[in-house]
Amino acid sequence: MTTKSKSTKAKPAPADDRLRVRKTYKLYIGGAFPRSESGRSYPVHSASGDLLAHAAQASRKDLRDAVVAARKAFAAWSGATAYNRGQVLYRVAEMLDGRREQFAAEVAESEGGSPAAALAQVDAAIDRWVYYAGWSDKYAQVVGGTNPVAGPYFSFSLPEPTGVVGVVAPQDSSLLGLVSVLAPVVALGNTAVVIAAEERPLPAASFAEVLATSDLPGGVVNLLTGFTAELTPWLAGHRDVNAVDLTGVAVPDRKALQIKAADNVKRVYAPAAADWSADPGISRLGAFVETKTVWHPIGV
């Protein structure tokens, strides 16, 4: 694929004669690419103000459908072996690497900045999948273990995924930011409903195509484009969402969502602004896991 796009660039003249086939940007729910059930879309502009496309404007019902898909996918994804999940995450990196020029162009259009800077972001996003792919079968050994209880029992504790996680992707970083919040959620077996950056949704919508071709079971990641303020209250209040990541919500808007999140004791992750190029560490992995302790008697 890389070769192909390179060769296209190398021969611009014939391409100009040809009428380009434009892409319809759609939602990604349960492994399928529907338009919003509401039939709505909204114009998306480049950093310099040009119209890029009309993105699907997801509705409350789309969000609920996405939660249903995420819940349905949870048992199999959380029950998959950690090795298998690691390979799937690595496959995402492979697929993304194959389309790095395309994503660099989309990121540059969405966010502005130099092509080199956009390419660096894409590369960092690829590396982030590789990073979290490696964590999937190591985290339990790092944070889990046996408990030396005072009695004839074998007791151990291990991390398990929290469940369905609602993710509000960062508004500033359309691809690297998205990947940085999404990969740690799914690496350990959670499934996700992601609301893409409102004004820069196109790299996310294209990224759903990468996910769809990466052996990731449908429903593990569901990606919505639309208006953050419209969708987030339904996400935060949804009774079948176990946790929310409010990274992409402006700090003054977080309180109202945190109040809604308490309706079913959601885990709320609402970190300070992040530098997406920095070492991600493990705090995001730890935000969406539960510790399970198992006991069994020892005897003959």
């Binding site: 029950g79 790092v142 944070v143 273990g145 408990n147 030396p148 209880v149 005072a150 009695g151 029992y153 007791s155 504790s157 929290t162 469940g163 176990n242 977080r254 309180k255 109202a256 945190q258 109040i259 999140a261 308490a262 309706d263 079913n264 004791v265 885990r267 705090s283 539960e290 510790t291 399970k292 302790t293 198992v294 006991w295 069994h296 008697p297």
Partner: protein, 490 residues
């Protein structure tokens, strides 16, 4: 679903033995006529009301407690802040740890006194207070004492810092033990605390304050405020608190979570439960029966992780229930201070009313109610061990936390159905599995959405074993290395 039939034998069986009384001496509790709150290293009368705390076993007053008022909350938080900024957070971990070791030892030294006091104030059998509450409380301090100078090895960075002032609110079911679960890790990590015990059970925490004072902890490191919900609310809303740790009902937990929305305060919640205790047909029935009894009648079922839903495989349901009923006829219900007592008093009139209301709903909704023949004392808050059969998953007694000695029995046919029914609850604190098949234990343990899974045992607690909930049973862990996280800024 099969409706297990009550066996004629269980119905007709009478107590076979009369037991001579084996009372523990009430004097050992060294009850004082009045108790004071503990603020900034000093005991003083709170500015709230002076209330009588009563013995739930006979409704007689035990002592008067000068409860805290809002001004005391301010003073306690200010004292905790001074202690944090002053000596405590700067003290080398090994010195902090030695204070905690002192507390652990002092609890052991005064163990019998504390056990009797706890039994009197709570209504729990002295056997449980003596064998569980007090020794495990001491063990918690001993365990976390050792962490104080080893925090860098805990996996939270090379030099993890304390959070600051922690407000801690605990329930009435394990008053001393919950105080230990809260205070020990907080102090080990270098935080200072303001602890509020439950309104109906303040005494053991105030004796713990004596122990802390005698251990010469710097003033303000631990402050203990007796009081009701208003004091808890004042603590939660206080601007100079950095962290809230709450154990109690899911309803109150949600209120606290909402209250802290938009603030930088950290929160850990240990809330309600509706645990499934799952018995497969290959389980050793006698052991399972003991585990079921321990699961739901330990502490009168007033345990957030109680095994309140018995899921039994249909093929052994009749046999198991008959065996369970036989066993329940031998349970001794009565004087909590009698060393032979298995089931003591319900903690309060309010809790008794809730248990009655929910059990009445069980009858109204069509389940079959059974209790062993037992004479309950005339005075005090008493409720006979109760088993409901023919329970549907839609019944309130299958969905709501009763927090009393009431077991709801449901049946299942396949392991998949057991998992489905067990997880069909907003709670996720604990679960039990009884089977001789190892691979089934591990498979069930993996599929049950609960923070603690007891296999072929139930209601085991240890300071080294993390404890806490999934879903609406709360978040954060208490116990073990994991328990440090709730008190470290990392």
């Amino acid at each position: 679903m099969a409706k297990p039939v009550l066996s004629a034998r269980a119905k007709n069986q009478k107590h076979s033995f009369e037991y001579a009384p084996a009372p523990e001496s009430r004097d050992i509790a060294r009850l004082k006529p009045s108790y004071q709150i503990f603020v900034d290293g000093k005991f003083r009368d709170g500015s709230g009301e002076a209330v009588k705390t009563i013995n739930p076993a006979d409704e007689q007053p035990l002592a008067e407690v000068a409860e805290a008022g809002p001004a005391d909350v301010n003073d306690a938080v200010a004292a905790a802040r001074r202690a944090f900024d002053g000596p405590w957070s700067k003290m080398p971990g090994k010195e902090r740890g030695k204070y905690l070791f002192r507390i652990a030892r002092a609890i052991q030294e005064r163990g019998r006194e504390l056990a009797v006091l706890e039994s009197l104030d709570n209504g729990k059998p002295i056997r449980e207070a003596r064998d569980v509450d007090v020794p495990v409380a001491a063990a918690h301090f001993f365990y976390y004492a050792g962490w104080a100078d080893k925090l860098g090895y805990g996996g939270f960075g090379p030099d993890p810092r304390p959070i600051g002032v922690a407000g801690q609110i605990i329930p009435w079911n394990f008053p001393l033990l919950m105080a230990a679960w809260k205070i020990a890790p907080a102090l080990a990590c270098g935080n200072t605390v303001v602890l509020k015990p439950a309104e109906t059970t303040p005494l053991s925490a105030l004796v713990l304050a004596e122990i802390i004072a005698e251990a010469d902890l710097p003033p303000g490191v631990v402050n203990i405020l007796a009081g009701g919900p208003a004091i808890g609310q004042a603590l939660v809303e206080h601007d100079d608190i950095d962290k809230i740790a709450f154990t109690g009902s899911t309803d109150v937990g949600k209120i606290i979570q909402r209250t802290l929305a938009g603030t930088p305060k950290r929160l850990s919640l240990e809330l309600g439960g509706k645990a499934a205790n799952i018995v497969f047909e290959d389980a050793p029935i006698d052991q399972a029966v003991e585990g079921i009894v321990n699961g739901i009648f330990f502490n009168q079922g007033q345990v957030c992780c109680a095994g309140s839903r018995l899921l039994v495989q249909e093929s052994v349901a009749d046999e198991l229930i008959a065996s369970l009923q036989r066993r329940l006829t031998t349970l001794r219900v009565g004087d909590p201070l009698d060393k032979n007592t298995d089931v003591g008093a319900i903690n309060s009139a309010a809790q008794l009313a809730r248990i009655r209301e929910l059990t009445d709903s069980g009858v109204d909704e069509g389940a079959t109610r059974w209790s062993p023949p037992c004479e309950l004392p005339e005075r005090g808050f008493w409720f006979a061990p109760t088993v409901f059969t023919g329970v549907s998953p839609a019944h309130r007694i299958a969905r709501e936390e009763i927090f009393g000695p009431v077991l709801s029995v449901l049946t299942f046919r396949t392991p998949a159905e057991a998992v489905e029914k067990a997880n069909n609850t907003p709670y996720g604190l604990s679960a039990g599995v009884w089977t001789e098949k190892g691979s089934r234990i591990l498979s069930m343990a993996a599929q049950l959405r609960a923070g603690v899974v007891w296999a072929n045992t139930f209601n085991r607690f240890d300071p080294s074993a993390p404890f806490g909930g999934y879903k609406e049973s709360g978040f954060g862990r208490e116990g073990g290395r994991h328990g440090l996280e709730a008190y470290l800024d990392h």
